[in-house]
Amino acid sequence: MSFNKQLKNILTGGIALLLAMGTFSGCSSSNSKAGDDGAAEQVYVPPGKHDEFYSFMSGGWTGNVSVYGIPSGRHLYTIPVFSQDPTDGYGYTEETKALLNTSHGSVPWGDTHHVEPSKTDGLYDGRWIFVNDRNTPRLARINLKSFRTDETIEIPNTAGNHAASFTSSNSEYVSAMSEYSIPLDKPLGNGTDVPIDSYAKNFKGMCTMVKVDQKTGQMSVDFQIELPPFDYDLGRFGLGVSKDWIFYTDYNSEKAHTMLEANASQNDKDFVLAINWKKAAKIAHQGKGKVVSTEYYHNIVDPKTNWAKSEIKQKVRVLQPSELKGAIYFMPGPKSPHGINVSPSGEYISIGGKLSSTVTVYSLDNMKKAIANNDVSETIDGIPVLDFKNVEDEQVKKAGLGPLHVEYDGKGYGYNSAFISSEVVKWSLKTGKVVDRHPTYYSIGHLTVPGGDTRKPYGKYLIGLNKITKDRYLPTGPEMFAGEQLFDITGDRMKLLLDFPVEGEPHNATELPASLIDTNQVKYYDLDKNQNPYVTRKEADAKVVRKGHRVDVYMTAIRSHFVPDNIEGIKVGDEVHFHVTNLEQEWDIPHGFALMGMQNSGILIMPGETRSIVWKPKKKGVYPFYCTDFCSALHQEMQGYVRVSPSNSKVKIAYGTNKEL
């Protein structure tokens, strides 16, 4: 079915809006007056009541994931993922620092882009959130019972891991993909030292399928597919009828390696890459392709000890497209496309034509027909290119300037963000006809409808993730939090409800109903089951042990004292490992541990848990330490001293609480 002919030109004023972008005061004067029309009531969550949805937003260059309540926009929590966080010592403690290990060493920051919930049968199941680091190619898995990062895995042979962390209908696989092609040794291995202008000849793109263990969530690199050196930008797994496929957009089919802004926009068309991952996996599991040497880190938290361990992997299976007959195709797409999104039924695949004003919609039916009829116009590096006319279904014209991403409401409508004209455009999936549009403030990137990438979107709300904040809030110097906007999409017209500022620069967000998550929360860790090798289960077992220059302090914390709280016999040059066990067994009673001059981080220890932090005293003296989390009326009194003597001192190890040493 083709609806091209049914398209009507609808006056959009896109150009006028583009001009308005230049003068932001113009935009604010046309600001919707949220509040006049019941909007305030729609977002009001009374004190003590909870929001309807959790929203997980990637923080971009914060390297972490932030959690908000919808519709209130309340900031609920920030989950450290790729960046160290002194709030709780994430990435600093002995238990968590392995999560940041990579083949480049410890990389204590990241650039998170796409947050994707685990799915069962194409619907969210509330188990995990997957998120990518674009810069140092990695994926992470967040446990939604604890809101903690349980696992990170490096993606080998890859750079610019942007089209990543998308999940298949049953979370069988999470995708990773190169945006920046890199030269790879033959056989594949570590980075290759070649002239940059040999790009077209030596550089390669790489698609990676990361398998997810259905019981534990544990990730493993299953196989990779070597690709021509285009920039693969975004991707989505299919749903329903297309669930065996994954689709990616790419730009730079020109294979430019410098001044891409101009040189990667020369061709009239770029491509959509379609891979039947199920077929590809079958071929890989038959032993096709080559197992090559490489090096990448896999870091995972042991749930018994809550301690992350690293494993260095040295092999990966790489397939060539020519080995994937019937499982990999290019489809010509709009010039320099950006987002790609699959409709709830899985029938339609929408592509944002970043440099145009159209959203192009492919139909799976057409694609399958073109494959069956062998409508192939050419072959690029072993990948057949399907004839454009035969796969395209419709074009949403007047989709605003710079359409980037599409989300669906489950009622037959698509909503695309338009970056340049700064608006959300609503159109019918059936006719391609634009039915509504609403300005955003300013320059919207991603947009999200709760459940918008599942078989059954929850609809109700749409959140615009704006890239530019300007005058929306009280100014905070040259940099400001990004501003998100909540819309009600239950009616024919979109209604702006709320602006709310968020940490970092979210590139993408996902919303899960609170009921999928809130009743499963870990409230404290059972002290009896704590198998951290340095646990101290009762105060009587607290001790300080010297072995050469290493001193292990087995310490307990409970409202409101440490045992031991007086420690002597530490010397300059020692490496002191504090292992603090929080003896509490009650929700929201963490204790903190901070010591004067500590060079790495203070820590927070959750009830029943043990956390370890290393201190290397450089000068003699007496160093106070204290609890950083206000725990009781006698919290101020929760303090102690460590005496540090010169390296040649004869002071013996001595320790205790409420006794003279």
Partner: protein, 152 residues
């Protein structure tokens, strides 16, 4: 953290309508809000009187171990520490009261006038150490075993 809430409550209970304040207010206003069973035996999972008989030394030994790992951070026998001296607690309180105090410490300090007085005196909210009913009963037996007044 909880103790801070309760301090706050005692000064602002009249104007606040949050749950804990309301509970605190009712406990403060009049202890007649409690049934006579609750006044005697506390508030919590133990809703019936707990009868004790001849001292069960085996159970007391079990209780000793639990006391040492879960309670001794704050309680000593024979002197005040973070919390009250518990050597003769079985002379002051019924077994059910002790068990409710162990299993529902913040409920007790919010609602029971006696527990509330102790919170004011010691200033630190007693911690909920996730002690089971059987464990709490064993701790009671241990307290009986260390109390010179216990009649065998």
């Amino acid at each position: 953290m909880l103790s801070i809430i309760s301090w706050g409550c005692s000064s602002s209970s009249k104007e606040s309508n949050n749950n804990q304040s309301a509970q605190a207010a009712s406990a403060q206003a009049s202890s007649s809000g409690l049934t006579s069973f609750q006044q005697e035996n506390g508030i919590g999972p133990i809703k019936k009187e707990v009868k004790v008989g001849k001292l069960d030394q085996k159970l007391a030994n079990k209780g000793k171990n639990i006391f040492e790992s879960k309670c001794s951070s704050c309680h000593q026998l024979g002197k005040r520490y973070v919390g009250p001296d518990l050597k003769e607690v079985t002379s002051r309180r019924t077994p059910a009261y002790i068990m409710n105090m162990i299993m529902n410490p913040s409920g007790m300090t919010h609602k029971h006038p006696e527990a509330r007085k102790l919170l004011a005196k010691f200033a630190t909210q007693m911690a909920d150490m996730n002690v089971s009913k059987d464990q709490a009963r064993a701790i009671v037996e241990y307290f009986r075993s260390v109390n010179p007044d216990t009649k065998n």
